[in-house]
Symmetry: C3
Subunit: 670 residues, 3 copies
């Protein structure tokens, strides 16, 4: 793929088609400006119809026609769904999870560690990659698909986990002490007595196992990457579609849920190490509920893994009835991905599927396989990207705010919830969305990848698990002039979910200039007039200033928000969950402390601004209207050109942005 | 049973009685006018206390005393609940369903295909029928009881299913193509690789298995019928109590739910073939929630199976606390069954049970086994039926409207729901209840039994699965002058749930004069001022007229209801779910198009009119007041006599119908 | 323990501590006035780290330091949580319940009847008790912990249950008849055919099994008591912490639920027989939801088991965020326990736990292990008890009202619920809480322990199962001048849940002077203007007077509340569930009939008065303010002294009781 070109792609499954129509499909793709197809990731039973019998006729046909149509191709290893003959051959391949052993049928329900699986997966990967790597239109490989640990708790992973524990803790006594195993008589005194982890009631130990489960998933991806690397060309890439916590509303059907927050079942930071091109899948609410927040959150998360641009390998075309886009929304979404640092997008999928399971996760084409309003809007995007795509690739960010996320914390809150109606990702999104709506761009950084020097301000939503090492980093960050903004439930426990046995917030209480040792159900408590919800810590300021005390007969003597200067920096703490406008006021003040420039008031939700430098060093501002009303704002730049229309604006000129429309302003050089 | 007599019966379980009181029971029945008892269907462990040891003393006593009391007897084969010794003898008898293998205890949880079960069932059936068939008071036999497939997914049914697939599809490739099995690598390339169906994620294939499951249930009934036929007399009948989708409100207790819609677990049309007398079980809400709709829907469904009258083999007496009838309701219900074509009813059950499971599914007698208000109301019914029953039997209908129902569609929507809160039966009932409340009587017709020539108007609520053959029928129906009324989600897929890959509605879009290729969540959309709910197709009229466009900023350009003339007929289409009054307006117009006469406006809900011809060729009108207010309407017939009171009315006379009361008007001959 | 001293204790788990700090803990306890620690009940894996290897170094250290600190010690047998080596040694130890066999991890999930378990439990108990019984600071032993039957349905318990049935019923025919087993063909005709109880659908038989399950739990406690008795000194006691139905709100996390009502899984009356000191665990809502009702209900239940005082072995310190007490609440709770007859309390637990499972079930100390407001309030309690404790121990009650409770009924309603939203304990608490809020103190008496002579008034909330023997007792009670107050669903069935087959309420209908044979969903029914909810029996007064008829078009002819004089007494019956104020009016009248003196109107909720005689024969009145407003009432006693402040009040003086505060008035001798 040309680095000056935006990827405009689709997942393409001719094997799912009710009849052969590849020529017609490619012609319709070309009309829409589609330049890339992603193929083969679910084709194992097609490529290897019987054990050891390979048939690449199908893939050859795609590549031949793609070459003729000048389409780039990303080839996926076909391992996320196994053929039935393989499950028949060795039934132990099916994963054993909390519900017992799975039965064949669904994707992603086998044991990644199973030797039979690995043998056959390796064979089909080697066959496919060696067969396709030489083809000129193949630009890269996607290894597996949305890989996770599938809650594997079979014998093999438990055996390996025990070895891991032995190596890490050396003696049972150390293990007992780390996780408080004597509780309910769970301590062990020789390794042989280590029980089946499935019955575990120790939140810390179970969290350690979940961490190990995540590790098996990223190790598996690294293993695939090594295989692919043996065959691929230097100009090809290895990517993977990392995805996010899938938030369901309740129904156990395909048409339910969206990309919500931190992924619990694989660690993105570890998984990304083996990739040469970052990739992600992002799905989100639409129609009246389209906000762009998931696009931004997902993009900021993926980009921050390596401070690199990325590909959106899957995003929605029409999808479900509730996502069929309003006119303009498909285009707004596409540009929003670019505004976060994507170098292109790929729709899932080209065509709607006519049976099976995800029949109503509709593609660009409806089931009639003809043109439709959404397809026609894609044509407009394709046309624009052909013209200006080279100016939009490689957008670089220099964000001064880091929002810290942590898998261990996510797991810990499953065992020790803040409130039954408030999950870790709810707090992460409460914080992230507040920043997003204020047009304060941030990196979303895994705690293991934090480089504090890059930032002026670090934000920790409910960062429950924090190692001493991380705490040292954060303390030094403030001492050296940084601004730290933390919420309730930050710095409570160590990396094993063990609550620190001294003053809270552990180690950083001098930095925050306050401490607490009680927390309560808010009940009728208010803060700055707004209802407090879910949880409230009773903060006792020492050197800190209370920015707001609780309003309550008995908790009124405690602070809910504090600010402290410490070293050359400042530390804010909000001890409770409340309405977003209160959090935003706090963030405004913190951003000012951190010397981060904020846009004028008019530039705020539902008008979203995302900025960066393109490859030519030009500063671009994406101004995105996430509403059904036209928005008018004054141009605040000396001189800027809308890359889409060519129109030029000077400071004070009015920018009219129609419903679900956008502008991309390129600042003129001084 | 005398065909000039209405059956007035009870299910009678002396084996459940806390003490012997058959004489007393029969005396109380006689007082109430009860003329029929249904016995023995749950008595296997009583009749065959040990393997091969039979004891018919119990049944002999019933028959002897019934003869003395001049009660007709329907003998049930005792196979729906097996004795524990049989489950002990061959544990493989217990069915394996989605939850694993069932444990002995509940009824209807064994494998209908199990050879041990069949051997013992055959033996006890032969013994019982040969023992009782000669008795003069035995008027017929009920085979089994509310038979269904019990979600059987054991080895034997899976083996038979594979044979069925081989025969039907011949090659794995054809199977793959029919159901899109390559999806998620599920294709098979030799029959040996066909996996356990329990893990199946392919909606189409799973639907085919469910169809096969239903077939095992109707085949099993046919097998029982063949056995009974070897012994029964010519004047005896074979019946079965077909029942309906049981809609629960949430609690997993006996006192919850009612007969709601199309039965998912056996196909009535197939099952009815082996019966010589149609039978049904109908239960419904009562007290303030009594509407008669379930009585009418169930009756119209059963009668339409063969255009024959039927017996209500079970209906509620007192039942649950929420069903204990208001004064008048028991009687209103009884006549309502007749008004749909029943030749009598039988209460479940005679007496309340004093322990076990359905203790609070109360019978005519409460636990005190004494008279009570409900029993006394039954006495009134019995008295009236003794007098006028001969004028009410054999009511014939000549309905000009057919409402089409389909099991394959019901199954398909489990996999591909319209909305998580809108099931297939919800749409069926939305349509049926609208017709019912408008006093537009209809047949409820299985798609496999449709004879279009009988009708002027065909109604298809969400008829998702439609074979090309059915579509041809429907197109010809309209061409020939019929009126077709279809809703959203009709004609989307073929009989294998595979969505048609061309313009929607498939094949009939010229007939409807419109098409669509997008559908959406309604959100704030309105239609004719009313809220649209659950689902909306964006209809694009071509030759059709839009009867209403959506009211919405973005979907406003699309129609929500269309009407088209086609050939000599007309076709209506409503693309969304909305309030019933809008649907009723559409149905009014369609009925007018179809030349179907409607009653004056005053004759409408809660006043229900159901009509037909009795054996004497007289036209009867049941006028039923489903409310707690007296209703007054003018007589619209030249001259008519109330069969109950003998009162005569002329055109324009006022009919006063008290709360929960009724009249049966016999039109005078011209 | 000195009988003149109140126990002020904590559960203490040094084995859970993140670091060794016993000296510091004991010092902090002493400061707070803590005089007793409860230890060892979850320490099996610590005391016996490997099979047969015992290490009492840990327990020795505690005893040694406790002696130095002058702390009393209650030693718990460590059997409620087994070590993993034991589950490894014999996997059959893990209980098989409705969900299959449990996996090791959780506490209380093994088979109490398993011989391997019993062997090892006996060994460790003998070792521990023989090791500690001689220590001067050990005042008693707690056997096991919150023991229940764990829904054991494994092979051994089923074998024993069958033996029990054989012995009790002698023939299968008697069994069939008792439980109506012919229903659904469940009758058996030789014992060998008795099926696995897990599939049982017979509510009566399943109830008998549940009774048997409860028996295994109390038998097991008696077995432990026998072992302990072999070693203990005469001045030591055997206790156990009986607990209550744990009412959850929905989340399956530790921080959810509270002690609500009658315990379903062990029978307190049977279990208490082997104890020499009654004990209980009581947890309850707090903050705005603190009412004291659970403290009173639990206390009245436990005290009534033997008409003895008791120890609260567990109650909440800080516990969950929603229970962290308001200032004053911890102290109010402590005194409320005493006011019901407790001789002291013990917090669960001393310190919050830093990992594992109950991490947020916080102790007196927060995770920082430092002082906090709750700890400081405990110090105040300790200080006061040191001064006046000797005047508060051994409080004796002479309640004239008995509220009858029954385990069989509780089980029966699981099968035959009154309403899906109204459980047995809901009715018990509706009745109990009404009495409580009226300051009418009562005993809460198991039906098997009823001595009618003690009482003037007996109250039966929904006493569904009632043996003929009990009914005789109650009838005689009324005949002899007692007042009986019963609700709907009382006296319906016998002790096997078999509904009586004659006039309801069985046998007592002459006593109540009314009968009914229908009951209904209330719908829009009202009674005395208030909405009737869940359930309504249609009462037909004979000799009784209707105190209120239903307000409803059709049920208006029936009574909802009746009163009858019978013999020298009176019998009230309320046939439906409605608002508490209506029940309270009925109870007022009944109490007057019974000659029970009521406090003046001002002394009512939220002001709670609980009274008794202390060891010196002095009458004490606890006046407890369960609200955040100061309450003012006139002193109604001639002369009384507040034991806490020493202040003296005369008749008519104003008592000011601050929010969540209390007074303990000792009446002056005449």
């Amino acid at each position: 793929m040309n680095e000056n070109m935006l990827m405009f792609g689709v997942a393409y499954y001719p094997e799912y088609m009710p009849y052969e129509r590849m020529d017609q499909d490619f012609a319709m793709m070309k009309k829409a400006g589609i330049n890339t197809i992603r193929v083969a990731e679910s084709t194992w039973s097609t490529l290897e119809p019987l054990d050891g019998v390979f048939d690449f006729h199908y893939i050859d046909q795609i590549l031949e026609k793609a070459q003729a149509a000048e389409l780039d191709v990303i080839v996926g290893t076909p391992t996320y769904a196994i053929p039935s003959w393989l499950a028949k051959k060795d039934p132990s391949i099916m994963v054993t999870n909390a519900h017992g052993q799975e039965k064949y049928g669904h994707r992603q329900i086998f044991d990644l560690l199973n030797p039979t699986f690995r043998f056959h997966a390796e064979r089909v990967i080697r066959k496919l990659i060696s067969h396709t790597a030489g083809h000129p239109n193949v630009i890269g490989f996607q290894i597996d698909n949305e890989t996770k640990h599938y809650d594997n708790r079979g014998n093999e992973i438990q055996r390996q986990f025990l070895e891991y524990l032995k190596e890490k803790f050396e003696t049972p006594e150390k293990l007992n002490q780390t996780f408080c195993l004597p509780y309910w008589s769970n301590s062990i005194h020789r390794w042989e007595d280590f029980p089946d982890i499935s019955g575990c009631i120790n939140g810390g130990l179970a969290g350690e196992f979940e961490k190990f489960q995540r590790k098996t998933a990223s190790d598996y991806l690294a293993w695939q990457a090594d295989l692919v690397r043996e065959y691929m060309r230097e100009d090809q890439f290895i990517t993977h579609n990392l995805d996010f916590e899938w938030r369901k509303f309740g129904a156990d059907i395909a048409q339910d849920g969206y990309s919500y927050g931190v992924q619990p079942d694989i660690n993105h930071y570890e998984a990304a190490k083996c990739l040469t091109r970052l990739g992600a899948d992002i799905y989100h609410p639409s129609q009246d509920d389209l906000t762009g927040a998931e696009i931004a959150f997902g993009g900021d998360s993926i980009r921050s893994l390596k401070q690199e641009n990325y590909l959106i390998l899957e995003c929605q075309a029409q999808a479900f009835k509730q996502w069929t886009p309003y006119p303009g929304q498909l285009r707004l979404q596409a540009y929003s991905h670019l505004a976060s640092g994507a170098d292109g997008i790929s729709y899932w999928n080209w065509h709607s599927i006519h049976n099976s399971f995800e029949t109503y996760w509709k593609g660009l084409l409806s089931h009639d396989l003809a043109e439709n309003p959404t397809y026609l809007e894609a044509c407009r995007i394709g046309e624009e990207w052909r013209k200006i795509g080279h100016q939009l690739t490689g957008l670089r960010k220099n964000n001064k705010i880091a929002l810290l996320i942590d898998n261990a914390t996510l797991t810990a809150f499953k065992w020790f919830p803040i409130d039954r109606d408030l999950s870790y990702n709810d707090v992460v999104r409460w914080m992230y969305d507040s920043l997003y709506e204020m047009n304060l761009e941030c990196d979303v950084v895994d705690v293991n990848g934090l480089e504090p020097d890059r930032y002026h301000m670090i934000v920790t939503p409910a960062l429950y698990c924090a190692s001493e090492e991380l705490l040292t980093k954060l303390e030094n960050f403030v001492t050296d002039g940084g601004v730290l903004v933390s919420t309730f439930k930050s710095f409570v426990a160590n990396e094993y979910s063990t609550v620190y046995a001294d003053t809270q917030p552990h180690r950083l209480h001098p930095c925050f200039g306050m401490s607490y040792n009680q927390f309560v159900e808010p009940g009728r408590t208010r803060l700055l007039g707004a209802k407090v919800k879910y949880f409230a810590e009773l903060l006792k300021p020492e050197s800190a200033q209370s920015l707001a005390d609780y309003e309550h007969k008995y908790w009124g003597g405690y602070a809910g928000i504090t600010r402290n200067t410490y070293g050359r920096g400042a530390a804010y703490y909000i001890g409770c969950y409340t309405e977003k406008h209160i959090l935003k006021n706090l963030l405004s003040q913190a951003a000012d402390d951190a010397g981060i420039q904020r846009l004028p008031e008019k530039y705020q939700w539902p008008l979203i601004v995302r900025s960066g430098q393109n490859r030519d060093g030009k500063t671009l501002h994406y101004i995105l209207n996430y509403s059904e009303e036209t928005q008018n704002v004054p141009c605040i730049w000396r001189k800027a050109k809308d890359l889409i229309t060519g129109e030029v604006f000077h400071n004070g000129d009015t920018l009219d942005i129609a419903d679900w429309d956008l502008k991309i302003l390129e600042e003129a050089n001084m």
